[in-house]
Symmetry: D2
Subunit: 503 residues, 4 copies
Amino acid sequence: WVSNEKVFYRSGVAQIQFADQKQEFNKRPSKIGRRSLSRSISQSSTDSYSSAASYTDSSDDETSPRDKQQKNSKGNGDFCIKNIKQADFGRREIEIAEQEMPALMALRKRAQGEKPLAGAKVVGCTHITAQTAVLMETLSALGAQCRWAACNIYSTQNEVAAALAEGGFSVFAWKGESEDDFWWCIDRCVNVEGWQPNMILDDGGDLTHWIYKKYPNMFKKIKGIVEESVTGVHRLYQLSKAGKLCVPAMNVNDSVTKQKFDNLYCCRESILDGLKRTTDVMFGGKQVVVCGYGEVGKGCCAALKAMGSIVYVTEIDPICALQACMDGFRLVKLNEVIRQVDIVITCTGNKNVVVRENLDRMKNGCIVCNMGHSNTEIDVASLRTPELTWERVRSQVDHVIWPDGKRIVLLAEGRLLNLSCSTVPTFVLSITATTQALALIELYNAPEGRYKQDVYLLPKKMDEYVASLHLPTFDAHLTELTDEQAKYLGLNKNGPFKPNYYR
Amino acid sequence: WVSNEKVFYRSGVAQIQFADQKQEFNKRPSKIGRRSLSRSISQSSTDSYSSAASYTDSSDDETSPRDKQQKNSKGNGDFCIKNIKQADFGRREIEIAEQEMPALMALRKRAQGEKPLAGAKVVGCTHITAQTAVLMETLSALGAQCRWAACNIYSTQNEVAAALAEGGFSVFAWKGESEDDFWWCIDRCVNVEGWQPNMILDDGGDLTHWIYKKYPNMFKKIKGIVEESVTGVHRLYQLSKAGKLCVPAMNVNDSVTKQKFDNLYCCRESILDGLKRTTDVMFGGKQVVVCGYGEVGKGCCAALKAMGSIVYVTEIDPICALQACMDGFRLVKLNEVIRQVDIVITCTGNKNVVVRENLDRMKNGCIVCNMGHSNTEIDVASLRTPELTWERVRSQVDHVIWPDGKRIVLLAEGRLLNLSCSTVPTFVLSITATTQALALIELYNAPEGRYKQDVYLLPKKMDEYVASLHLPTFDAHLTELTDEQAKYLGLNKNGPFKPNYYR
Amino acid sequence: WVSNEKVFYRSGVAQIQFADQKQEFNKRPSKIGRRSLSRSISQSSTDSYSSAASYTDSSDDETSPRDKQQKNSKGNGDFCIKNIKQADFGRREIEIAEQEMPALMALRKRAQGEKPLAGAKVVGCTHITAQTAVLMETLSALGAQCRWAACNIYSTQNEVAAALAEGGFSVFAWKGESEDDFWWCIDRCVNVEGWQPNMILDDGGDLTHWIYKKYPNMFKKIKGIVEESVTGVHRLYQLSKAGKLCVPAMNVNDSVTKQKFDNLYCCRESILDGLKRTTDVMFGGKQVVVCGYGEVGKGCCAALKAMGSIVYVTEIDPICALQACMDGFRLVKLNEVIRQVDIVITCTGNKNVVVRENLDRMKNGCIVCNMGHSNTEIDVASLRTPELTWERVRSQVDHVIWPDGKRIVLLAEGRLLNLSCSTVPTFVLSITATTQALALIELYNAPEGRYKQDVYLLPKKMDEYVASLHLPTFDAHLTELTDEQAKYLGLNKNGPFKPNYYR
Amino acid sequence: WVSNEKVFYRSGVAQIQFADQKQEFNKRPSKIGRRSLSRSISQSSTDSYSSAASYTDSSDDETSPRDKQQKNSKGNGDFCIKNIKQADFGRREIEIAEQEMPALMALRKRAQGEKPLAGAKVVGCTHITAQTAVLMETLSALGAQCRWAACNIYSTQNEVAAALAEGGFSVFAWKGESEDDFWWCIDRCVNVEGWQPNMILDDGGDLTHWIYKKYPNMFKKIKGIVEESVTGVHRLYQLSKAGKLCVPAMNVNDSVTKQKFDNLYCCRESILDGLKRTTDVMFGGKQVVVCGYGEVGKGCCAALKAMGSIVYVTEIDPICALQACMDGFRLVKLNEVIRQVDIVITCTGNKNVVVRENLDRMKNGCIVCNMGHSNTEIDVASLRTPELTWERVRSQVDHVIWPDGKRIVLLAEGRLLNLSCSTVPTFVLSITATTQALALIELYNAPEGRYKQDVYLLPKKMDEYVASLHLPTFDAHLTELTDEQAKYLGLNKNGPFKPNYYR
């Protein structure tokens, strides 16, 4: 749900990448313990295993939730979760999250007067966590009815799902779903008598895919899709290109707030956190090479430089390369420094950025990790050869040992370090959740014709609104334009303040 | 030629602003010593007086260059400058500049094989400095013929003009032109028998304006306009909106390299330099308020924070405001901190950001300066009241003294601090000059139909090329995509690497 | 073993402080589960409970190690530990630590030729961890015989103790000793037939105290004491002042490397780590007040500022205060900002720096923690009143809840955050361990008369040597003075390079 | 008066260095235009030529001040200066300086009640600048009578001397004194009927030397010497070692405030200022090597890193070297990076740190400058060989041109960059001047026996007092210890707060 990578929407990209992802995926079915894999499940529905694992334990009984009779305290049974008894604990988690999501709470307050989502029937498919619960309860306060499934078979916080079910939400999700469960849950959200969704909130595109495949007629009543993930957005652009997109879709992933805040600021903190929690490495004086100087790379470099590391950067794009130079980083090719660095971090959105040849040349004890896209950046597969020994030294930390005794410290098996090994501050998730809520409101209320059957970015003005809702957290005081100044600048006093192309 | 301000192209903006600028302009004719002002001269043609002043002295004789017979050593007399005898000194200045403009020198080298500007007849109107000379001689090496006038009546480096004339360029410019001289010089560039320009390189729009007014037929042969300044770009968008733009125009001002490098990095250095040279103030521990957190404001804030100042920020745009918060600056309204700060810096592109009421509340010794747009940000006019005493303590430094003895230190009378009181590194000018050269090449060689009668941004790929030409300065080594990676990303191995909307 | 506090050796200080500590100590006997407390046990022998807890679990059987017959694989039984079977696991931990302690490994290499500790009989009382094991095995390689006890009843890593015992060391220590066990173990180290120590390595002064009390005659053969902790050093200065110190003692705590590196650099990293692991707080934009701007405070402030926090500082000392100003921090009294800050950090070495009145005024959600001295800085006792509710939300994290619902997030109950909630990099411990080894060598080999019965700081030259042994880690290359330069500076080419008073 | 270098007081140092300095000095008599040099004039009396030059022009008439009849407006003629008519202009300069010297102004205010220097007869020999004038007038307000000469033949601000003379001070100094004038002026200060000094304030030791040589009996009445410069302090330590120091002396140079503030913070700002004013170099992306990581080097490195330079460090001292590593700088030998760096800065206090061999290997355009000691660090003499061409391109900037066309940019001919090419903020001078005033007060009022015939550092408490007097400038609020806290720490509530060895 946090995607660090740079985004590329170009002809042919999505398809190629997608095929590629599935290949990766199919290579290691045993790791995630499922026998038969449906073709259409998205990679993102499985890949944040480790992070989720750290939140809740599935120490409960072994009966499948699907086989249980479930009812909440009011007798409502339109949900399917692990254990309704955990509702109180889940409620507590939701309350803690509320404190860090001031923008959604502000939206609820405003909703006391008007209900911008009155009549909206939202079907959602996202990670089911305390933060999502705050979003769902906000949508409800804004007037919407919600039915929800999980976008990932491992990431559901069971106690939060319980609290939602207890609160009357039709939630179908538990931690450790099978492939079959996964689609069953999604189906239960949409295939229900007397209720038909008119809005989709998706994360990864599986829900959208399911409706396309099984209930294409539903789209007649659907006013729009809000999609958050890179993968899901890819799918939508593919549909659009193929002329098959039949409702407007909002690309939340590329909104300014998401790109600039999630990536730069979130990674600035999580790179340190992820490295410390896994390796306890001292940053001062360490030599680090960061591959890629997009927003994620910029965040990583800034943090490590600030903590006294000596940072080298690799780049393919001359503009980002020149920025790296001006920011005080030596721009090198990976091979120039690979023998001397203590830490290697990938942030490119590319594949095979660190390959076996590089790994062979690293010095003993070198730490290798990925902050970029999926698990493609480091060619981890190349390390699974007989002459190398793998030693799991901690959760998420493997020592890969060469015949001469050299050890490489590989983190999270090359998956996203910050998803796997650090926490994502609720405050950052708040920005994304608020954007999702506003995108739903915008699509639901947009006058006929404002949006066509295409993929849209959030209007600048709403982007600005999301930002403004987060300022009170910092006790920050915005200046207002005078009438004279607004006239001088040719701006409306309430914004938008920047052209659409501004980033 | 360096414009720090944020840019706004919105309906009605340009016209309003322009009217406004002229008003400002007309208010103080005595200051710049001209009686009758033509309507059409742009503000930018006069406003960098002080910076220019620091480069060369006009200690020469008083005869107008227009009244002199002029010939270079080869007998060529198709130019009009101050004093051809200064050519050697000017040549030396040009040589020094060449060392810092590696990209243009690289273009020259490539031009040994092909001449992408063969047949081009470029008429130019820019500041005439050593850096411009390097550009002109590069254009020439690329195959172009050039005729040139100054875009500012004060900014010509006479010795550089002499070197250009000696080298065979038809230059019409000297430091301290009159209004009449100004237009005469421009006219001499375009109104010449047997030579008709097919490309325009403009800075401020005066040359373009002149041709529109006097020789509209010339546009039949003109392939395009390259314009660098905010003001000139405004004028072009106005023409375009009015349907009067009759050739393609390239907006160089908004290219990524210009915006990201000129503004952020240049201001990061020049804010310190400008403050030190004028006031010798110690930065450590000083409280500073920076109005505006666009690229310019970001640069100023970063530099001052790094030097130990405590920096407050004001903003109108919630997105920039949130960035300021995340970057560690208290976001305030000006009045919250105006009594306590030691330095006030405006970087908004707006007008009346600091008004008399604010100035009245500042503490004794407070330094006030502008890094933003023109001279509108600080309401300097409000300080010209009888009860306040002005005391010029250094060049560009005034003490404005209140009846109770309180002194405000006003820099450059509210004009751009970095243009007036610091130098602009040649390296930064090199980026802009290279962009101009590439824009000329692109427009000149573009196949029929690629560009219409509209205003264009430089294609991303050329932006990237400009950046790549500057990397060798830093001994920076770019990584190349493998075929496999390029395919994975759906990119051409040679770029462009980013979508057009990427900034 | 990491002590962050500033040090004060002044008349009367130690005694007062000591009395005070005992009082604190006696107040909460129930917390640490011991009934009868000996007078003389030092506070430091119990106060790092939490940190130790995170290393190893005492899930083993309940029989006291004292009641077991113990033998290693070679039949040697001169030790008393938890479980010899854990030796292999412990060996692995030691090997990992070795990689980060290059200086000790270098000392071992040099010891292949000469044995500077040949004949030394070292009795030690320190935390028994992997890092200590590397030190002990180094001392052994240098020629020393060692007997060792733990300086803290909770901090022993049982598996490391097992590895040491298996390796032939006479170790008497386990995690979770009783008070009685504690002294029994120490006694077993010194009270042994046919072996009498001639060097003491102490951490906290308990070992030294025990010998003073029980076996004062032993000092006849003892060549010196090396003491690391603030508390232990206090005790030594007291003895010295009272004329009762009968051997030379080396104060390792105040060596330059310890003060400058442990405190500044270690805290720069651990403040971030400690806060993240306990609260997942986002640093960007947070307002923080740091009480105290000594080395610890400097480290905390630098790190937080670098991560985008807005940092305020309180100080009592004008010199440190002026440094804070010049470094860009607003110097305030606590009450000026207490209502607005998100995080409060104490680093003063003082007591009652944050009192109930301050806590009452903090805003909801404010995080309060201590990086300074012991647990005196925050008046935690004042929060144990009936109207406040404590809620343990995570290990080391308490919510203290006011009647109106306001929550304060108190970390580690006011004990040292970095000891309790983050890890200390082995590299930093390496500096201290190397200093201890060199201090032992120096005292053991010093010619008669170089050291009297007093407390000494490590000679500058040895301080420099410790530093030099750590440079290879950074691939750092020291410049050597030429003969001419050495003569010019009046220095020996091999140092010392700075006067003794240089810090 | 600002000395950046590290200090070494070791056996033999001073004598060797002194001999050496004189040698250097004698090598270039023509440069400073004097024929016969007295043996005893200190190097510092001549070496800040360039900085002084930038302050005032000696465009006046050629008559020696010694040959003029001089009287101020009150008829007093006990002074000898350039031109009494400049008094008004000088007064204005002094007033401006007063605004930045809050501590001295605060001392004056307190002096309204008590006159701690009542009866003091201070003879001074320092640079005569506006800042010194503020000091002298403060001493006068505190009760002292003053007679003053210049410690440097070029550094006197004539207009300030005039204002002082007009104000009744017996000043003997002008810009451009001859060697003979220099000693004549000093003599006029001390050799006066009916007035005998009882306090000496010296900068460089020439005044002290003169009295020793000519009027040794005067020391019977002299209560003490306050000396500021490295050179002067060297001389005093020599005297002390030789048993010839016959009054107590206060070493102001090594006070904490001087070392920590002057060097670190002043150089952090002046390195940027000095480089910009001379070369307009852009810092971003530049590779820089800084030789020496003492306080001066730390300041330079911090500033350049903050501005986006890539900084390498060379060091001889392992402790400083390790600090450089932990602060994020690559520690190298000069030769490892000499070919690639854009800027070389020396800050070692050593000689021949950059020699011809290094200069031969630098790349074209490399900037070389010195922030350290005197003019010994760069072997400038080695560049004065026939095959190299020197070209003066600006004041203080020489291009040294190799036969192959390579140019090295040498600043200030290797003298101190910040003295020569940037300004020193009054605020920093204020710290030093306040220290001098307090040292005079302390020595003058010390009870019999507190100080012997030795060289002393300022007591910590007075160091703290100096700092505290500068806090109001930053609106900084110091926290006071409670009685309980003071008792706990064993400190007096009013300080001193740190042990004497604290730095």
